[in-house]
């Protein structure tokens, strides 16, 4: 780098002209750690690539098979519906829990206590066997006449059992997450809204919940990812989601490892997509909290490229006005 480009770099970075040039401290420990990590990585990659029992050919063969894709679709559907039930239920339970009426908050407490206190696997089995407990399901006036009669075996299909088991359980966890979010909003916000004449419901919907979202979104993203994987428990009630679809295939061809890998690859893929979605959601609900929104990965990439680009001596047109010694 000649003198003029060096000066230009400084002026572009906005640094004082007398920049410090010192020999940086050496970090031999870091080099050693890097070496160890690289060796371990090489061993793992080598074994994964060369061990024929991984059956990568089989993995490739089944990765996009119709049975697996059908199972994947059902897994995503289960996740979305259960989370939707969980979120709605969670908001209702959280608002109930914060109610000044002890009966209402007590009811919410009881629900959370019950559904959080029993394993979701047990709940799933319970719902699938519900017809043993209530063979007929009637809807109507409590202790009075009923209008709708249904056979529990017809009404509670494996799908309904799965949704009930996952969704009702999730509601209990979401309730605590939403409650924490609501409590995180400053009291002054509620007061300001009330002073403007807004009702409690309006205040909750327009002022408190949108701000609570900032606290609610990250753990909810966690819950969604967790739900994606928890939905594999539904395989115990013989519902064909992703894992059970894989199990059905290896029950026939005995290639357990490759098919479990197929399922894992899909779980990882969806988890990755969900994480990206979460990042953008957080960004949206974070508006107003910082002076500037954090950059999206794309923007960051572009900015990094731009900086890297700027380091290389620029053609005169791009650096005009700021450059030194450039015509």
């Amino acid at each position: 780098m000649d003198q003029s480009t060096a000066t230009r770099d400084l002026s572009q970075a906005g640094l004082p002209p007398d920049q410090i040039k010192a020999v940086p401290v050496r970090h031999p420990g870091r080099w050693l750690a890097t070496l160890i990590v690289l060796v371990i990585a090489a061993v793992v990659i080598n074994s994964v690539a060369t061990n024929p029992r991984f059956g990568w050919g089989t993995v490739g063969h089944y990765l996009f098979s119709s049975q697996i894709l059908e199972g994947l679709k059902i897994t995503i559907y289960l996740t979305v519906v259960s989370m939707a039930i969980g979120v709605v239920l969670g908001v209702v339970l959280a608002v109930m829990r914060l109610s000044p009426n002890p009966l209402i908050s007590g009811a919410s407490w009881f629900y959370i206590w019950f559904f959080r206190g029993t394993p979701v696997l047990v709940q799933l089995l319970f719902w699938s066997f519900i017809s043993a407990l209530y063979p007929k399901i009637n809807l109507g006036i409590p202790f009075g006449p009923s209008f709708i009669h249904a056979d529990a075996n017809h009404l509670i299909t494996p799908f309904v059992a799965a949704i009930l088991g996952l969704g009702l359980n999730e509601g209990a966890y979401m309730a605590e997450i939403v409650r924490a979010g609501i409590l995180s909003v400053e009291e002054g916000q509620t007061e300001a809204a009330q002073a403007l004449g807004m009702t409690r419901l309006q205040t909750m919907r327009r002022i408190v919940l949108p701000q609570a979202m900032r606290v609610i979104i990250p753990p909810t993203g966690n819950e969604t990812i967790s739900m994606l994987k928890t939905s594999s428990l539904v395989s115990v009630i013989a519902y064909r989601e992703l894992l059970y679809s894989a199990q059905l295939i290896y029950a026939v061809n005995f290639k357990q490892i490759p098919l479990l890998l197929v399922a894992s690859i899909w779980y990882l893929t969806i988890t990755t997509v969900l994480s990206i979605g979460q990042y953008y959601l957080e960004r949206y609900f974070g508006r107003g909290t910082a002076r500037e929104l954090p950059p999206t990965p794309l923007q960051r990439l572009r900015r990094n490229l731009a900086i890297r680009h700027a380091r290389v001596p620029l053609p005169a047109s791009e650096s005009s006005g700021r450059g030194v010694g450039v015509p």
Binding site: E191, A192, A195, L196, G197, Q202, R206, G288, T289
Partner: protein, 254 residues
């Protein structure tokens, strides 16, 4: 003489066993600016919050614009007002807080337009046009789309005043509006308040700004330990305080 806007008769308020207000009686007339002065913990802010029913009073009576606050009287019986009735009343009383309490997830214009749209049912575009005009009138024409975090304290407080004015209040309550501001920024907020007073707005102002009280206030009430110690013309009270407690307080803040 103009109609009374706020009448307090023996207003009491306790938090648990702590009696914060021990029988406040006073009157604010339409178009008047009343300044509440006093040491912290004297109950001035609590009294202010009683006026728009953010706090319930325990005893006494409080009228705003001819209506009892929070209750309806039929014969000798008091009936608690429904939420919608309380909200309707509050929507006619503007309040400005010490900590601004702007809604951080909304821009300045959205903050101002929110209540007209959702409380009064004003069409959105109309509310935003009005919000722009109000923000312009407090000197923030170029900050419509800024979020509160991007504004200085003084700017935030001016947005908060515009937000309160958007509801066309009959009465404005100010709870130490300049106490959380840098000394440099106090002036811009006081200027807006001064103009508001000149336009004839009825105002109750809890403040430590003696200069503002002297210059703009029509009445000054000095409170201590939940009671009114002294009240009267601000210039008179500030120049010749009659009570020892008032004198002691003023000697420290002046």
């Amino acid at each position: 003489m103009s109609e009374p806007m706020v009448i307090a008769e023996g207003v009491h308020k306790s938090f648990g066993r702590l009696e914060v207000l021990k029988g406040i009686s006073l009157e604010v007339r339409q178009g008047e600016v009343m300044c509440l002065l006093g040491p912290s913990g004297s109950g001035k802010s609590t009294f202010l919050r009683c006026i728009n029913h953010l706090e319930k009073i325990d005893a006494g009576r409080l009228w705003v614009d001819g209506d009892l606050v929070g209750y309806r009287q039929q014969g000798s019986k008091l009936y608690e007002l429904r939420e919608s009735e309380v909200c309707r009343k509050r929507s006619t009383i503007g309040m400005v807080f010490q900590r601004f309490n702007l809604f951080p997830h909304m821009t300045a214009a959205e903050n101002v337009a929110l209540a007209p749209v959702h409380v009064k049912g004003v069409p959105k575009d109309e509310a935003f046009k009005r919000a722009a005009a109000l923000l312009r009138s407090v000197g923030l024409a170029d900050k419509l789309d800024s979020y509160p975090a991007q504004l200085s304290g003084g700017q935030q407080q001016r947005v908060a005043i515009a937000r309160a004015l958007a509801m066309d209040p009959r009465l404005m309550l100010f709870d130490e509006p300049t106490s959380a501001l840098d000394p440099e920024l106090v002036g811009e907020v006081l200027d807006v308040m001064r103009r508001l007073a000149a336009d004839g707005m009825t105002m109750v102002v809890v403040t430590h700004e003696i200069g503002f009280a002297r210059e703009v206030g029509d009445k000054l009430v000095f409170m201590d330990a939940g009671a009114v110690v002294e009240s009267g013309d601000p210039r008179e009270v500030l120049a010749n305080p009659k009570h020892e407690r008032t004198r002691a307080f003023l000697s420290k803040v002046l």
